[in-house]
């Protein structure tokens, strides 16, 4: 076998390894139910859950609690299957949290609480205000 071939095989091997590891490390979008099942099975991979903050019938947001030192926050999130779940975020409350129309939390379950490492917020008017003010 020529050296060129060995070289080619090594490169392909590295590329395949990258693909396998990437596929393994990629996160997934799941529901809280699925996330809970994963946690029960001992799988503590970080996952994405999409949902909204819990609101009462008049549209007021419920269940947002800022800790006494104001450095962390917990809130109730309702996922796309309407399951409610308490989420804890170890950072100060993002100013836009209460305005958001959609929330993506990235993290995993610790016991009964979903601990978010990162929160992505989709806010109604941000960057695409299409209303004329007179």
């Amino acid at each position: 076998m020529k050296k060129t071939h060995i070289f080619g095989i090594i490169i392909i091997a590295i590329a395949v390894m990258i693909i396998i590891i990437t596929a393994g490390d990629a996160s997934t979008y799941v529901t809280f139910k699925e996330a809970m099942r994963m946690a029960d099975e001992g799988n503590n991979k970080k996952i994405h859950v999409v949902g909204q903050l819990k609101k009462d019938s008049e549209g007021n947001i419920q269940g947002v609690e800022v800790t006494e030192d104001r450095l962390s926050v917990s809130f109730i999130m309702v996922d796309n299957e309407n399951m409610e779940q308490k989420v804890y975020y170890n950072e100060p409350m993002p100013p836009d949290l209460q305005r958001s129309e959609q929330v993506v939390v990235i993290g995993s379950f610790k016991e009964d609480i979903f601990v978010a490492d990162k929160i992505l917020l989709k806010c109604p008017s941000k960057y695409q205000e299409e209303e004329i003010k007179i």
Partner: protein, 829 residues
């Protein structure tokens, strides 16, 4: 009055630009095929028409932005009346249409250079060029053919885009002001970063067009020497553009660094890596005629990746996964077509001509310079592959979903850790190879001589790294390896540089740029790999009572006037500040009265800096009411101190934006941003009445306070009193933790009625009112209201040796420049 003519003129230019690009492409195609020179003249004429039309579009668009023609939707949605002219430039390219236009603009400039200097390559290269140009202009064409929207025009009227009732009542209505430029983009780097980046984007087309021409016209290897200086130029401008963007992110965004492995960042980083790989294979070709196939693949891939990154960032496919992608304009189909056409042409030509491309049958030898450089290009390509794969996850999802397969793949949860795990090893490989490659580049070493040549640099770098390791306590294995290989690369390239400098300084571009890259790698290693959150709050608090784990909180809460110890510093929040147009430094809002226009303030008193009154009493000053700066004082144990002013910009349309303030020093940066601030509208407590005697201490909100005295005054808030009025000002001292504060409530009697003007202190959350004066007792009755003290929550990060990254960038750019000069000279020889 609605300026219809401007939009019509602009749109006319767009159509002319599109048609002339198509004509130029067709004529250049004919010129390349036929013998008649007429086609070439026609093609050139068409191209110059195209050039003029593009300049026309750019002029008209800037004209309507500059003159605040808010009847145009592009102007209304990206600009506003109060932007200075340089931010109006940023507004020009904030939107998709404008940024396409910027790209088109650079293309025509490069096109003129090609027409004038490319000689017998002109027709084939300009064919590819004009074709790309036609595609790009079609993106801003804004016409509808058979229900098919082709491009999005920047010259649409606001009333045609937005359904607002006001336009039904009065079609001539022009919005008073635009909705403004995204506050994040109001930064000087956003004035120069996009043009540099798009120059890099535009320049990648030159080597690509040369490669395609080479295949098409069977000049299979000739193109390479023409392509080398252009590839160097494209890499330099793209690289500089990327770093400028990183620097902007560092100064403006609050994710705590300059690089976040965000999909948009990745999408432009990948073509850059491939382009650098391409330079190396082309240099191998120059030396010994090999590596033609790999040069074709890399140069063509680099351009296609630029198009792919355009598709990723502008089609909306990235969705929520990126902070900087553009809003979707419904152009994804057109972008996809653009991508597929160029991929198709490239693959077709490569397959058709593959057998004509020479490949060397020579056995690879590890003692051969080509071997090492080729390995280097391979490592760069693998690194690019590792980045683009996860970045494309939304694309894979979309393709699979279109095939009816439901997937739920998401990008890696922690991007930085995920990419770093791989890229640190590629970094080590690249550093080692630049070191090794340099030795082999200048002479093919004999087996026995290798050790002799390498011994010194290896020993020096091992010694240096060991020293650093011992003194800094660096223990992470990949970091140590990266550090030692980086130092090795600097030493060995330095050795080459010294040798070349006296004899052939013009050839030292490679050595210089490799030193630059190594400095950058070490700078990244320290500033990112070893960055440290210094606002860590080891409170030992539990997540919540249900959770067993302890957590460290990365933010600290600072009340005004209550210093807190943080890391090696004493931190104190000293209050809100504003900045004024045309004046350096920071001011407080208390120094001014509001005016009728929210952008203007009127000085209450003479405002001094030192002893000089810089703003006389009653003067009007302009400022940006959206910006608040939070003054934070850092004091070291030895008493040295400095101030930082992290900013919060409140834009009603775009939400709040937080920007850091950075204390720079040679060895480290202290990076600070606010995460949360207290609400400016506060609720006051019920009034408590208290009788206090002159000179006696009392407590307000737990602060020791004293009434120091009364004083009769002749004017109140700048207004002289009327006949018979009596006004008394009480002076009350409150002892804060760091300083004393004075409050001066006023008690005024006019026509037997008492008026009370309270005074308040934001820092302490205290408002005092003189309710009654009891002269016989030397006492007064105070009304006391208290509220939440002003506070901020901030995060501070230390970034060691970040200056190595910026220095390395400059060195890299010098290296590129030297190399471009040299390779251009080669061409003319």
């Amino acid at each position: 009055m609605v300026h219809i003519w401007a939009g019509n003129l602009g749109h006319l230019f767009v159509i002319v630009a599109f048609v002339s690009a198509v004509v130029a492409a067709f004529s250049y195609f004919k010129a390349e095929r036929g013998l008649s020179t007429d086609w070439k003249l026609t093609a050139r004429f068409a191209f110059y028409v195209h050039f003029a039309a593009v300049m026309g579009i750019v002029t008209v668009l800037y004209y309507i932005i500059y003159n605040n023609y808010f009847e145009y939707h592009y102007v209304w949605s990206h600009s506003s009346r109060y932007l200075p002219f340089y931010y109006k430039l940023s507004a020009f390219w904030e939107g998709q249409e404008g940024s396409f236009l910027l790209w088109i603009f650079w293309h025509v400039i490069l096109g003129v250079i090609i027409v004038r200097t490319f000689g017998k390559w002109e027709s084939s290269v300009m064919f590819v060029f004009s074709l790309v140009q036609a595609f790009l202009v079609s993106m801003i064409l804004g016409v509808v053919i058979f229900n098919l929207k082709l491009g999005s025009s920047p010259f649409l009227l606001t009333r045609d885009v937005i359904n607002a009732p006001v336009f039904e009542i009065n079609p001539e209505f022009i919005p008073e002001n635009g909705s403004g430029l995204n506050p994040l983009l109001q930064n000087y780097w956003m004035v120069i970063h996009p043009p540099t980046l798009f120059l890099g984007f535009a320049a990648t087309i030159v080597p690509f067009a040369l490669a395609i021409s080479g295949l098409w016209t069977n000049r299979i290897t000739d193109w390479i020497k023409h392509a080398i200086p252009w590839t160097l130029f494209a890499s330099a401008s793209l690289g500089l553009g990327i770093i400028m963007g990183a620097y902007w992110a560092y100064e403006t965004l609050n994710f705590g660094g300059y690089w976040n492995w965000d999909p948009v960042e990745n999408a432009i980083f990948v073509p850059w890596l491939i382009l650098i790989g391409g330079i190396h294979t082309m240099l191998i070709h120059k030396k010994n005629g090999a590596a033609v196939k790999s040069s074709y693949l890399l140069i063509i891939a680099a351009f296609l990746l630029v198009v792919y990154s355009t598709f990723l960032t502008r089609s909306g496919i990235l969705g929520d996964s990126s902070v900087h992608s553009f809003t979707d304009l419904g152009l994804s189909g057109q972008l996809l077509l653009y991508l597929l056409v160029f991929v198709g042409i490239s693959i077709y030509l490569l397959i058709a001509k593959w057998n004509m491309i020479p490949s060397t049958e020579k056995e690879i030898s590890t003692y051969n310079r080509e071997f090492w450089i080729f390995i280097g290009a391979t490592v760069l390509s693998l690194s690019a592959f590792q980045v683009i794969l996860p970045t494309s996850i939304p694309v894979f999802n979309s393709i699979l979903n279109n095939l009816g397969i439901q997937t739920s793949m998401a990008p890696p949860a922690d991007q930085v850790t995920f990419y770093t795990r791989f890229q640190v090893w590629f970094g080590i490989g690249i550093a080692l190879l630049t070191g090794i490659g340099q030795f082999f580049w200048w002479k093919n070493l004999e087996k026995g001589k290798v050790y002799k040549e390498f011994a010194l640099p290896v020993v020096i770098s091992l010694m240096l790294s060991t020293l650093i390791m011992v003194f800094s306590g660096l223990v992470n294995l990949p970091f140590l390896l990266l550090l030692s290989s980086g130092i090795f690369a600097i030493v060995s390239n330095g050795k080459t540089l010294i040798r070349l400098y006296s004899k052939k300084a013009g050839l030292s571009g490679g050595a210089i740029s490799h030193i630059g890259i190594s400095l950058m790698l070490i700078g990244i290693l320290y500033s990112s790999g070893l960055s440290r959150v210094i606002s860590l709050n080891r409170s030992g608090l539990m997540y919540s009572s249900d959770l067993p784990e302890e957590v460290n909180k990365e933010n600290i809460l600072l009340f005004q006037d209550e210093p807190v110890a943080m890391d090696d510093y004493q931190l104190s929040y000293q209050g809100r500040r504003i900045r004024l147009d045309g004046h350096a430094g920071y001011f407080t809002k208390d120094q001014f009265n509001l005016s009728n226009n929210v952008h203007y303030l009127i000085a209450k008193e003479d405002i001094k800096q030192g002893n000089i009154a810089i703003i006389p009493k009653g003067d009007t000053v302009k400022y940006n009411p959206e910006n608040t700066y939070y003054e934070v004082k850092y004091t070291r144990q030895n008493g040295n101190n400095f101030l930082l002013y992290p900013r919060l910009q409140e834009n009603p349309d775009m939400g709040n934006v937080v920007s850091p303030s950075i204390k720079r020093s040679a060895l480290r940066d202290i990076y600070t941003h606010v995460t949360v601030v207290a609400n400016e509208e506060k609720e006051w407590s019920e009034t408590i009445e208290e009788e206090v005697q002159l000179g006696k201490t009392f407590f307000v909100n737990d602060y020791v306070s004293t009434v120091e005295g009364f004083e009769r005054i002749e004017e109140v808030d700048g207004l002289p009193l009327q006949e018979g009025d009596v006004a008394v000002k009480a002076e009350i001292r409150i002892q804060g933790k760091t300083q004393d504060y004075y409050l001066e409530p006023v008690y005024l009697i006019r026509d037997n009625f008492a008026a009370r003007i309270p005074d308040e202190n934001e820092a302490l959350g205290i408002r005092l009112t003189v309710l009654k004066i009891i002269p016989e007792k030397d006492a007064l009755i105070l009304g006391i209201n208290t509220t939440q003290k002003d506070y901020i929550i901030l995060k501070a990060i230390e970034k060691p040796y970040i200056n190595l990254l910026w220095t390395g960038t400059i060195v890299l750019m010098i290296g590129f420049t030297v190399a471009i000069v040299r390779r251009t000279k080669d061409l003319n020889r």
